[in-house]
């Protein structure tokens, strides 16, 4: 089975972001960028399936500017076999991303496409579901366990009420949640070796997909600030505060 993994380059999740004063967006100049954490879980899952002999090729694809090559190299160092960069400097919406991924999916014809459940910049949580619709494939989002069975996959996923397990025929689309695995940090020899693995760069414009945005982002603003409160010295004072707050709440 071939596995296609989509990865996104985002502001590193440890960086405290700063909203530009003019409301045009979040400052990304000079800010450390890295692979979206959920995408790392997807890469790790694919590499583990390959190591277990259940997948024979892991192809990793990213859509973004030239520097997104870095996150593809990270995935190759983790054990993916081959990379594709769909190059664009435009900020693409999730629908356009899903359409480009659908084109690559049609070309590569993987048995499984793995993605992170959401990107930590736009927090959209769309692309896996959209790709599933565009390719007419079944989906399992928020995966915490993936088992390859004779006929397809059994995927445990996290839902509002607890956990559930889906059985999916292949080909299928799965998005990774945090509990799926612990992504590895590639050692230096793997990082060096990743540079010699095949990595194709293709312009997004060549795919014949309408990439124009559908939504108008009017502004980006910082959230309202919370004013710091006070400390109390005794449990009795705390209880009085809670009781007063609850009676106020119930009066509304």
């Amino acid at each position: 089975m071939k596995i296609l993994v989509a990865v996104k380059r985002v502001v590193d999740h440890n960086v405290r972001i700063r909203v530009r004063p003019d409301g045009s967006g979040v400052e990304t100049n000079g800010v450390r960028m890295s692979m979206n954490p959920f995408c790392k879980h997807a890469v790790e899952a694919a590499v583990q399936l390959a190591e277990a002999g259940q997948a024979d090729e892991v192809v990793v694809v990213s859509i973004g500017p030239k520097p997104a090559t870095d996150v593809i190299l990270t995935a190759l160092a983790m054990g993916a076999h081959r990379g594709i960069l769909i190059e664009t400097d435009a900020q693409l919406e999730t629908l356009a991303i899903a359409k480009l991924l659908a084109k690559i999916t049609a070309e590569e014809n993987p048995g499984l496409v793995l993605l992170g459940k959401q990107a930590v910049d736009d927090d959209s949580n769309h692309v896996g579901q959209m790709l599933a619709a565009l390719t007419g494939r079944p989906q399992a989002t928020f995966a915490s366990e993936i088992k390859v069975t004779g006929q397809g996959l059994e995927v445990s996923r996290e839902v509002d009420t607890g956990r559930e397990t889906l059985s999916l025929p292949l080909p299928a689309i799965v998005t990774a949640d945090l509990r799926l695995n612990t992504p590895r940090n590639a050692a230096l020899p793997q990082v060096m070796k990743a540079r010699s693995k095949p990595l194709a760069t293709r312009p997004a414009a060549d795919f014949g997909v309408d990439l124009a945005p559908r939504l108008v982002v009017e502004k980006i603003s910082p959230p309202p600030e919370r004013v710091a409160g006070k400390s109390v010295g005794t449990v009795a004072e705390l209880a009085a505060f809670i009781a007063a707050d609850i009676s106020q709440m119930e009066a509304l």
Partner: protein, 310 residues
Amino acid sequence: MSVLVLADHDQGVLSPATARIVHAVAELGTVDILLAGENIAAPAQSASTLAGVAKVLTAEGLFVADSLEMLLSTLTVRYHYVVASAGSVGKDVLPRLAAKLDLMPVTDVTAILGPNRFERPIYAGNALQTVASNQPKHLLTLRASAFRAAATGNAAPIEAIDTSGVSSAAKLIASHRTQSETPDLATAQIVVGGGIAVGSAEGFQLIESLAKKLNAAVGATRAAVDAGYAPNDWQVGQTGKIIAPDLYIAIGISGALQHLAGIQGAKKIVAINTDPEAPLVKLADIALIGDLFQVIPQLIAELDKIGLKR
């Protein structure tokens, strides 16, 4: 303009999130509710009582993402808005439906600013994005916790719809529910949350006893869930549930960014922690520095003394 709301329900009970979604979208037009799934008679009845609802549609059967998308795509021709709560079902199906209809959805909406303008948080709530959409239809998920509930007293008609022809490649083969007598976490007025300092699943029983006293839901940090002290559907944070209670009592929680993202909508925050420097202690309305194992039993006793009943 017309709105279709996909209702959340579980085990024959309508989710309190649905009343909030209905109230939030009532200003956009007449609202029909779709109840899809098994054991939907009682939740359909509850949905029909919500103010602003014109009609309740019921689709009996077991639906997963692909079949629910198929069902919705046959219905959506009639509506300008298709709306779900930003829970696991809405997140699963709305983007899928949107791509099928060649539309960009707007998800995790926390404010409706007009018929086609919406606000949603990005970067784990560290920024807010205002978007306008000129598309012919709007597909939305709303964070129920950001909106107030619709009143009841309505008696909208309930109409079963034909689901023949709807099928699914994916099959649900098992589900594991967390049993709890406490209210729904995502929409509770009061939430008592525990962190890694609670130390064990037994320690969480202490958190639960305070929650029961306050008729509050129980939440947990990702670290506490990962450590096995609490089930994963109690997780509050960027990757768990997003809550906006009137009162949040954070016990033994230092306040990692991930967790803060999940509680940004809380109106009042109470923190109980041994560390006065913990981020959550610093932004709480009221903080008590102390050992939770001593404080909570005392707090329950004090609340009894005051005569608090909920």
